[in-house]
């Protein structure tokens, strides 16, 4: 089944139009939004300023932030991986080699997501202690990393292992969600396809459902670690 | 400045002395007070119960009574807020809508009038007591007046004002709500009174007789001796030896 279908649309939408007291609308001329407070947030902040904001935000979401330069990235990751025997799952992402991480990865039990292996990938991810991905855009305001998931950048990697490690190029920092969504909006307008899963992750999974007490680590990762690469 | 007093139905029947204090305070500030004899009730009991037509009858009488006034001042944030709602009662009647708008625009709650129109904050009052203050919902949320009572109380000599926890929670009056939903209202006023008791204040001050009637009813029932006073009674008070 690759072709989509739509059922009962016309009666449904005609009813809406009728209740609204007009004909069905087939186009909308939208006026510019009057209230746009989002652009003033951290306006004019440098990457250094945004990094400071980001680090502050991470305090509130139980997430440690480390800073490193590209040359020491290997060491920074080693420092985070305290369980040396623990297996690691990573996406098929050329950045792992272009940032010189291959040597480090070779020393560990690493599974690189490979779509040709099918369900085996999920089994490996389920057993992995660490999942590592790069952040595509990073939202300073809320301590949020962003993933665009696809067949290589699989959803499971940041979800199944107990520990999630995000590698964050400092240049990926933007003030807040507005910059991300504007970018996606522009791309949609230009006819590009949105990734099937745009995932904004802010720290480890958590819940306050039991007597409003915060429990960190529910169905997703129990721990999240961010490594900011200051010269990328 | 000419000011017409709208005493409110509750004020006229239960708290005439508050009306007297209002008159004396405003006269001392140089206002010329009149009391339009045709005034009745703002109409809120009917309006809030869903009886818009019956509320409109009250509103028309109020508009007739006050449309020649320069300012209308009332010792109730809730009733003032209701008068500000009047235009909405006459959406289909342009003539009455316009008349309603004029009255609504010149109606003020007492403390709001003193602070924002007369631009006075120190009225020379003094009152030796520990007090806490009940911020009523309609005054703060519908009328949007959160500051005026505190600005005035700050200048009352001898008065120590203790913050009231959960001050933002409704006291449970809500007009007909208190009799229609008695059990819920009873729980609300009980919690309010418990918070008042926790402050260890000698008096509870408020700017709405309706809330005060409700809270006092519960305070008296629980038995801890806390006096309940309208802000006008405080602002019109002078301790002996004070000017």
């Amino acid at each position: 089944m690759t072709e989509g279908t739509i059922h009962h649309r016309d009666t449904f939408l005609n009813n809406i139009a009728e209740k609204l007291g007009r004909e069905r609308k087939l186009s909308v001329d939208r006026p510019l939004r009057q209230n746009q407070p989002q652009w003033a947030v951290y306006e004019g902040y440098t990457q250094d300023d945004l990094l400071a904001v980001f680090k502050k935000a991470c305090e509130a979401i139980h997430t440690d932030v480390r800073e490193t330069d590209a040359a020491s990235l290997t060491q920074a990751i080693e420092d985070v991986i305290t369980e040396k025997d623990g297996s690691i799952v990573i996406p098929k992402d050329p950045r792992f080699s272009s940032f010189g991480l291959e040597g480090m990865l070779a020393r560990h039990n690493v599974h690189v997501w490979d779509v040709s292996l099918g369900q085996e990938n999920i089994k490996r991810a389920e057993k992995a202690i660490y999942g590592i991905t790069f952040s595509e855009k990073t939202l300073a305001e809320s301590g949020t990393v962003v993933q665009y998931n696809d067949k290589d950048m699989a959803r499971s990697i940041s979800l199944l292992p107990e520990n999630y490690i995000a590698i964050i190029p400092k240049s990926s920092l933007v003030p807040r969600m507005s910059q991300l969504t504007r970018d996606i909006h522009e791309r949609v307008k230009a006819g590009e396809k949105v990734p099937t899963c745009v995932n904004l992750i802010s720290g480890p999974s958590n819940s306050a459902d039991i007597e409003m007490n915060l429990v960190v680590g529910v169905h997703g990762p129990v721990k999240a670690e961010y490594i900011v690469v200051t010269d990328l | 400045m000419k000011v017409s007093l709208f005493i409110t139905c509750l004020g006229e029947i239960f708290y005439p002395n508050v009306g007297k204090d209002v008159v004396e305070i405003l006269e001392r500030e140089g206002c010329d007070i009149d009391f339009p004899a045709g005034q009745t009730c703002c109409g809120q009991p009917a309006y809030n119960s869903g009886y818009k037509e019956d509320a409109a009858k009250a509103a028309k009488q109020m508009i007739r009574s006050f449309e020649d006034s320069e300012y209308v001042v009332t010792p109730s944030g809730s009733c003032a807020a209701m008068v500000r709602e009047y235009p909405g009662l006459f959406e289909e009647n342009t003539v009455w809508h316009n008349r309603a708008e004029k009255v609504a625009a010149k109606t003020f709650e007492l403390t709001q009038f003193i602070v924002n129109v007369l631009r006075k904050e120190d009225l020379g009052a003094s009152y030796n007591a520990r007090a806490t203050y009940h911020t009523s919902c309609h005054m703060t949320r519908l009328l949007g007046e959160k500051e005026a009572p505190f600005k005035l109380l700050k200048h009352v000599k001898g008065l120590e004002l203790i913050p009231l926890s959960n001050s933002y929670d409704c006291c449970g009056f809500g007009g007909t709500f208190a009799v229609k939903m008695g059990p819920i209202s009873g729980q609300m006023v009980d919690e309010k009174v418990r918070h008042v008791e926790e402050t260890d204040a000698d008096i509870l001050i408020g700017a709405d007789n309706a809330c005060l009637m409700n809270i006092k009813g519960r305070i008296d029932r629980r038995g801890k001796p806390i006096e309940v006073m309208h802000i006008a009674q405080i602002l019109n008070h002078r301790e002996e030896g004070e000017a």
């Binding site: 059922h7 007291g21 429990v215 169905h219 | 009886y51 809500g174 939903m181 609300m188």
Partner: protein, 480 residues
């Protein structure tokens, strides 16, 4: 089970709530805690700018969207289908359930995992799925707790198990699942994690609600903290998302504003741990993520509000902020409302969706203190809607009491006539005299009976303001 909770009359439910001291403690401490958390990330967040401007932005987007709802739903469905997803428009709960039953039937699904969703609760989807032979696994911690505890009903739209304490949760886990650890929230949550991990991996179908659908790209955005919604939409081969028809934004830029308002208003977070926007991609050859994507768009009575004075009730983004400040909810809890939608928004929405016959009393369960209106992040005038419901109710759509109608008629006549009003005012001290004791009425009759159950009523004053004022004015003139 649908939208309705319980069969007891309203006042019995209220009494039940008032007498449930654990629940009341849980609710009031949750309200007090959330108030501070919310203030920190809204009006007191200096970096965010003016919170009022954010609220205006939210209102503006919601108003525009609802005014053009047919267009945006059309655009959404086109975008979903273009990416290979299926869209089903359901006028009623039955139609929605039937379609979903057919989908799970075709898949021969035995295990269905669900992320938290109020609309699926509203349409009674779990029962429909069980009827179709499926095991339904709720995976949101709160929903999981309710399901384990004999299908208890939600009492809060954001934290459905708010009325339960950790001891009750431990006991339910122990009795039903053989749980052996303590009542520590960490251990209880850890147990749910263990229990559900394999369930996620084995389920054939994952069902979610929808916080916001994005019309321009055919995406469904989910706002969660636990990671369960991600699980539900990552491993099962089929994803079914169910949305109330108003839960839509035109563009990603609008999504930004509303997600911001939702996270901050509901739980006092800048962002929840996961904001996940899912777009069908059945042509994409990935290992995780669904191969089959269904979006079910439900009317379920919502269109009753379109074009009426209640249209802005559909602006609601289900943040629960109004519930969290409501002093009525504080004392009676969620179940007393008899609807899965409780608090102020519940009292506005339930009669729209379910009629006055069933929910006509709810609009009266408010002191009209307007705390809800003040806090609503998209500026729905909730307390005004409650008054409008009351107007409809007394105008014949509900069952108002004849005695009340007569009393209000009399009020109108009395307050419309100064002479009658003064007569009533003057006679008040005499009429009430037999009940007065020490200037108080400790035990009232008729409408005053409920008042005097818990508090005294004052005796009308014997002094007459009008007379005093007349004398006062004369004295003033004499002094001139």
């Amino acid at each position: 089970m649908g939208m309705k909770i319980g069969n007891h009359p309203f006042f019995d439910r209220v009494d039940e709530g008032i007498n449930n001291s654990f629940m009341r403690h849980a609710v009031s401490s949750a309200q007090d805690r959330l108030r501070g958390k919310k203030l920190n990330v809204t009006v007191n967040d200096q970096d965010l700018g003016d919170w009022e401007e954010w609220r205006s932005a939210g209102e503006e987007i919601r108003r525009h969207t609802l005014e053009n709802l047919d267009f945006y739903l059309g655009q959404l469905s086109d975008a979903v289908a273009e990416r290979g997803g299926h869209v089903f428009f359901a006028e009623t709960a039955e139609e929605a359930n039937k379609y979903i039953q057919e989908v799970v039937g075709r898949k021969k699904a035995k295990n269905v995992v669900k992320a938290k969703s109020m609309v699926t609760e509203e349409i009674g989807l779990n029962e429909a799925l069980e009827e179709a032979g499926c095991h339904v696994h709720e995976t949101d911690l709160a929903e999981y707790i309710l399901q384990i505890d004999d299908h208890d009903r939600p009492s809060h739209i954001v934290v459905p198990s708010l009325h339960k304490n950790k001891e009750q949760i431990r006991d339910a886990f122990r009795d039903k699942l053989g749980y052996e650890k303590t009542d520590k929230p960490e251990e209880l949550a850890g147990f749910a994690r263990e229990q559900l991990r394999q369930v996620f991996l084995d389920a054939e179908v994952g069902i979610t609600g929808c916080n916001f659908a994005v019309a321009e790209s055919g995406s469904v955005a989910l706002v969660t903290n636990e990671g369960n919604a991600n699980m539900v939409t990552t491993f099962p081969e089929t994803q079914i998302s169910v949305m109330g028809m108003e839960r839509i934004v035109p563009t990603w830029e609008d999504l930004d504003v509303l997600v911001n308002l939702l996270c901050r208003s509901s739980v006092g977070q800048k962002m929840t741990s996961y904001i996940t926007a899912l777009t069908p991609g059945v042509k994409e050859d990935s290992v995780d993520g669904p191969k089959d994507f269904h979006l079910v768009i439900v009317d379920g009575g919502r269109s009753n509000a379109l074009g009426t004075e209640f249209q802005s009730a559909l602006h609601c983004i289900r943040c629960g902020a109004c519930v969290n400040v409501c002093p009525i909810y504080r004392h009676i809890g969620g179940h007393a409302y008899g609807s899965i939608y409780q608090g102020p928004i519940g009292a506005v929405l339930s009669p729209i969706l379910g009629g006055y016959e069933e929910y006509g009393e709810l609009p009266y369960a408010s002191s009209l203190c307007a705390a809800c209106t003040e806090t609503c992040p998209v500026k729905i005038p909730l307390h005004e809607h409650l008054i409008k419901h009351r107007q409809n109710y007394v105008a014949g759509q509900g069952r108002s009491k004849a005695s009340e109608r007569i009393a209000m008629k009399a009020f109108g006549i009395g307050a419309g006539s100064p002479s009658l009003f003064q007569m009533a005012a003057k006679s008040a001290p005499f009429v009430t005299k037999p009940f007065v004791k020490d200037d108080k009425i400790p035990k009232g009759l008729g409408p005053l009976k409920q008042w005097t159950e818990t508090r005294d009523f004052p005796a009308p004053s014997k002094s007459n303001f009008r007379k005093w004022f007349e004398g006062h004015t004369k004295k003033g003139e004499a002094n001139d």
